[in-house]
């Protein structure tokens, strides 16, 4: 409760929290803000025809356009509040539903990475020297790869096997995202392992799994969770980067990086087609900024020694 109070007091983290709440609102309200044409696949960006050149916004005031679409006064195809890309994918639709993709991707990747890190780190810390040594050397091998280069490689290899899509990119990022957490959790378990209550549990005859899950992990997991919550923004960036490179979400999927990749074909005339990059990049910037503002404040409040991670 004290933490929450301090988060609310700091103007920077308050800004971050308000922004996050705004995005949560957009994600929840997506079906009303941008009604899908085909309700069974809402993540397919609404397409108004197939014309190759991007169409400008259909209204002068995008906010007014959004109001008209949300209240059902006008059809998305006429209003196009943020314009369209080549192939007439509606950018407003993509940005709104892309918010859901961003949350999903960020939470899934972070969750999976923490889970793997938890298992690997626990094994390394709890079971003897040899097992720990081998497991940590394997972790070192994974850390010997530059994160994004390795993710690009795994995504490229997975594509012919399971196809291009959100899952492919997420798996690629998870493959190289868990190491920090396994190291963190290992260190914290090593610190907790020697405490008296663990000894007491062992004396009482508790098994390995029970000691680990019931006695050690609850006391060691907190720092890892804090770091993980700060990393969500950076995973969203990495995923968008893969999409932008053409290795993430498939064409037409509601994802910010995927929409931005349409801009690549129009670089010499971006002054004319400014709307392709303005709206998705604004959404992404604010989203990541929100996580970073909250994360920064959290770190200052909870542990000044924890350092952030580098992203692209």
């Amino acid at each position: 409760m004290k933490t929450v109070k301090r988060l609310l007091k700091n103007p920077l983290s308050l800004t971050g929290l308000v922004l996050l709440l705004f995005f949560v609102g957009v994600a929840i309200a997506a079906p009303w803000l941008a009604p899908p044409a085909r309700s069974w696949e809402p993540y397919r960006v609404a397409q108004h025809g197939f014309a190759p050149t991007p169409a400008p916004p259909g209204v002068d005031n995008p906010l007014l356009g959004i109001w008209q679409v949300a209240t059902g006064q006008a059809k998305l195809a006429q209003v196009r509040p943020f314009g369209t890309t080549e192939g007439q994918y509606d950018i407003y639709y993509g940005v709104v539903w892309g918010t859901r993709t961003a949350f999903k991707v960020g939470l899934y990747i972070t969750g999976a990475c923490v889970l793997i890190g938890l298992v690997v780190g626990s094994i390394a810390a709890y079971f003897g020297r040899w097992v720990g040594e081998i497991v940590m050397r394997i972790t070192d091998v994974f850390m010997a790869f530059p994160f994004l280069v390795a993710a690009v490689t795994v995504a490229a290899v997975l594509q012919p096997v399971i196809g291009r899509g959100v899952v492919t990119a997420m798996v690629a990022l998870i493959c190289f995202g868990w190491m920090t957490y396994s190291r963190l959790i290992r260190g914290d378990i090593l610190a907790v392992k020697e405490r008296d209550y663990v000894l007491a549990a062992r004396a009482a005859g508790a098994g390995h799994l029970r000691i680990l899950v019931r006695h050690i992990l609850p006391n060691a997991i907190f720092p890892t969770m804090v770091v993980a919550s700060m990393d969500i923004g950076s995973y969203v960036i990495s995923f968008a980067a893969l999409s932008f490179l053409g290795l993430g979400a498939e064409v037409g999927y509601a994802d910010w990086g995927q929409i931005l990749s349409f801009a690549r074909a129009w670089i010499p005339r971006l002054n004319q087609y400014w709307w392709i990059i303005l709206y998705p990049s604004l959404a992404m910037l604010l989203f990541v900024l929100a996580w970073n503002l909250v994360g920064d404040a959290l770190r200052d409040i909870l542990d000044p020694r924890l350092r952030g991670r580098i992203t692209v």
């Binding site: 050397r137 394997i138 070192d140 091998v141 994974f142 010997a144 790869f145 530059p146 994160f147 994004l148 280069v149 390795a150 690009v152 490689t153 795994v154 995504a155 490229a156 290899v157 997975l158 594509q159 012919p160 096997v161 923004g233 960036i237 968008a240 980067a241 932008f244 490179l245 053409g246 290795l247 990086g257 931005l260 801009a263 690549r264 670089i267 010499p268 005339r269 971006l270 002054n271 004319q272 400014w274 990059i277 990049s281 992404m284 910037l285 990541v288 900024l289 970073n292 503002l293 920064d296 350092r307 952030g308 580098i310 992203t311 692209v312």
Partner: protein
């Protein structure tokens, strides 16, 4: 210190072995038919022919035999044939390396010097206007995905103002290279321009470098600035700094000789992270600006399923990273008196 370095050197082969095993493991994730298709240029007419290829190259053999065969070739420099670059992978890496190196050098040298300097200044002006400005600068750098501001830079400075251009060099320079009036010594246009005494080529190369350099280095600025600042803040509170001040030393001497030198020790450990950022960053940056280097080569190859090229570049960059980290650790041992005098 010797013990530390020896221990570090002993781990090195294990890591390198693990890296090659992983790269090969990723590769063998594809089934033999797919792997065979990476090596043949003509489509086999019958399934029989395909089976013969698989048998001939032993793509169905036990995995450790295949690994042994593969690692023998890799050690000799044979990474396979790059379909996107239309030459052997190692040759392709050599061909694109100078461009990436040029970009990286232009990005890193100012970052290291000015980033550290700004970090120190920021710490000296703690919680004043300059400190707040640099912190906001760093936070924005942290939150902006590099491809987004790359695109924004292109929109403003290329599409609107026409000041800078994507790509690496203008066509007229390439024509001069082909005609032989401009000799390439190193493959890096800015350096070659100086060696040839050609200011116009230097200017043209620079015009193409400005935007990718900014895009590649912004996050590095942010990182270095933050770490230097916090390390410097901590050092300035140490007792030996107070002692130095009490002795009546000049402020400049206190800051740069007593405080900054010690504050640099944690900053030196950032070397590895900077290298990772660089290797990751070139993929995005070079793709956004259509800059023909290793990063764009990797991205293009990945989208066109040219797996051998991607694996080659991954292996190359991770070996680079392993040795880079080794260099950083040794540097750390040398500059940190606590390890040096162990």
């Amino acid at each position: 210190m010797v013990a530390f370095i020896v221990r570090r050197l002993l781990i090195l082969p294990i890591i390198l072995f693990g890296v090659t095993v992983f790269v090969f493991g990723v590769f063998s994730f594809l089934d033999p038919v797919m792997r065979a298709s990476l090596y043949v240029r003509d489509v086999p007419k019958t399934t029989d022919a395909l089976q013969r290829i698989i048998a001939k190259y032993g793509l169905d053999d036990p995995i450790h035999i295949q690994y042994w065969r593969w690692i023998n070739q890799v050690v000799r420099g044979n990474f396979g044939w790059s379909k996107t670059a239309q030459r052997p992978v190692l040759q392709a890496i050599g061909h694109y390396l100078p461009a990436t190196l040029e970009l990286a050098l232009w990005a890193m040298i100012p970052v290291i010097f000015i980033g550290i300097w700004l970090g120190i200044l920021s710490a000296l002006h703690h919680n004043r206007a300059l400190d707040h400005t640099t912190r906001v600068f760093a936070l924005v750098g942290w939150s902006f995905p590099s491809f987004v501001y790359g695109l924004l830079l292109l929109m403003v400075f290329y599409a609107m103002l026409q000041w800078f251009a994507p790509g690496r060099i203008s066509d007229w320079v390439i024509r001069e290279v082909i005609a032989g009036t401009f000799i390439q010594h190193t493959g890096m246009y800015t350096l070659d321009a100086i060696l040839n005494g050609r200011l116009d080529v230097f200017g043209d190369a620079l015009r193409h470098l400005v935007m990718p350099v900014i895009t590649l280095s912004y996050i590095q600025w942010a990182l270095l600035l933050r770490v230097t600042r916090s390390s410097m803040l901590e050092t300035l509170r140490q007792e030996y700094v107070i002692t130095a001040r009490a002795k009546g030393l000049k402020e400049r001497v206190v800051v740069y000789k007593h405080a900054a030198r010690n504050a640099m020790i944690p900053v030196a450990t950032m070397g590895g992270l900077l290298l990772i950022g660089l290797l990751n960053g070139v993929i995005i940056t070079e793709t956004v600006f259509n800059y023909p280097g290793l990063g764009r080569m990797a991205a293009t190859a990945a989208t066109q399923l040219d797996i051998l090229t991607v694996l080659g570049i991954t292996l190359f960059s991770s070996v680079l990273l392993v040795f880079g980290n080794l260099a950083v650790d040794i540097l750390y041992a040398v500059i940190d008196p606590r390890i040096r005098l162990e």
